[in-house]
């Protein structure tokens, strides 16, 4: 458990620093690369939470596909790639109290609800088979709906981005 705790705190600090850089850096490409650190750290946390299939999917979908989309979006919408000064809007200061108030509220709620409750010590890793039994069993209808959502998104993105 101690090794897992050390791993958790290293990855957590890395994720928080990287997330702060994503929302404060002046360079869109740097923001995308810091986002990769956050997403990879999230995959590590999923493994600590005994969710190996979700972790692998996170690496494939987010780091593989979504990041490529973001970098293409950056490339196609801007002539130059480099530091920019006008990425934040004028009421940027408003975001700090909003974020802090939400954090304090959620922190109080979590401390009151869960206190020092521990996760089960001898959790076994959830196998891919169990997850697929869930998806293709009780959750089959949402899975179909999801495939229609993806189809609609693909067609919609093509229609939107096509040059007439």
């Amino acid at each position: 458990m101690i090794a897992q705790n050390i791993g958790f705190w290293i990855i957590a600090v890395l994720m928080i620093v990287a997330a702060l850089r994503v929302v404060t850096t002046n360079n869109v490409v740097h923001a995308a690369l810091w986002l990769v650190v956050v997403l990879a750290g999230a995959a590590g946390q999923y493994i600590l939470l005994a969710a190996e299939f979700v972790a692998i999917t996170q690496v494939l979908v987010y780091i593989g596909a979504v990041m490529v989309l973001f970098l293409f979006g950056t490339m196609l919408t801007r002539a130059r790639i480099g530091a920019e000064s006008d990425l934040n809007n004028s009421y940027k200061k408003l975001g700090i109290p909003v974020g802090l108030i939400m954090l304090v509220a959620m922190g109080l709620a979590l401390t009151r609800s869960f206190g020092a409750e521990k996760l089960p010590d001898s959790a076994k890793v959830v196998s891919t088979q169990e997850v697929s039994d869930q998806i293709f069993g009780p959750y089959l209808l949402p899975f179909w709906a999801l495939s229609f959502v993806l189809l609609a998104a693909v067609i919609g993105a093509i229609v939107l981005a096509r040059k007439d």
Binding site: P120, I135, L146
Partner: protein, 99 residues
């Protein structure tokens, strides 16, 4: 490991994402902040899946990943369209609906 350490990490990421959505005006960076928020929700779901010894959270997390991928695809398509029409992706300049 405590339940709360994962939930606190998720709430910190969530608040950073909310700050990003408020403070940024570049549309691509707003989409990145939304990804931060979606990831924090996934950490929450998987924490509760482990706490309750159920696999439902894994299914929900996978569905969220799929919906997030669709959202990024459509969102960037919209951003490209806005850029083509207005030559900017700053959301402060898209004020045509303002009365």
């Amino acid at each position: 490991m405590y339940v709360n350490q994962f939930l606190f990490l998720a709430s910190v990421l969530f608040c950073i994402g909310v700050y990003g959505v408020i403070a940024r005006k570049n549309a691509v960076l707003i989409l990145m902040s939304i990804e931060l928020i979606l990831n924090s929700v996934n950490i929450n779901l998987l924490t509760f899946a482990l706490r309750n010894g159920s696999t439902d959270g894994h299914t929900f997390a996978l569905y969220i990943i799929a919906v997030a991928a669709a959202e990024v695809g459509v969102g960037l398509g919209l951003v490209l369209l806005v850029y083509r029409n207005k030559k900017t992706i700053s959301v402060d300049d898209l004020s045509e609906m303002r009365g």
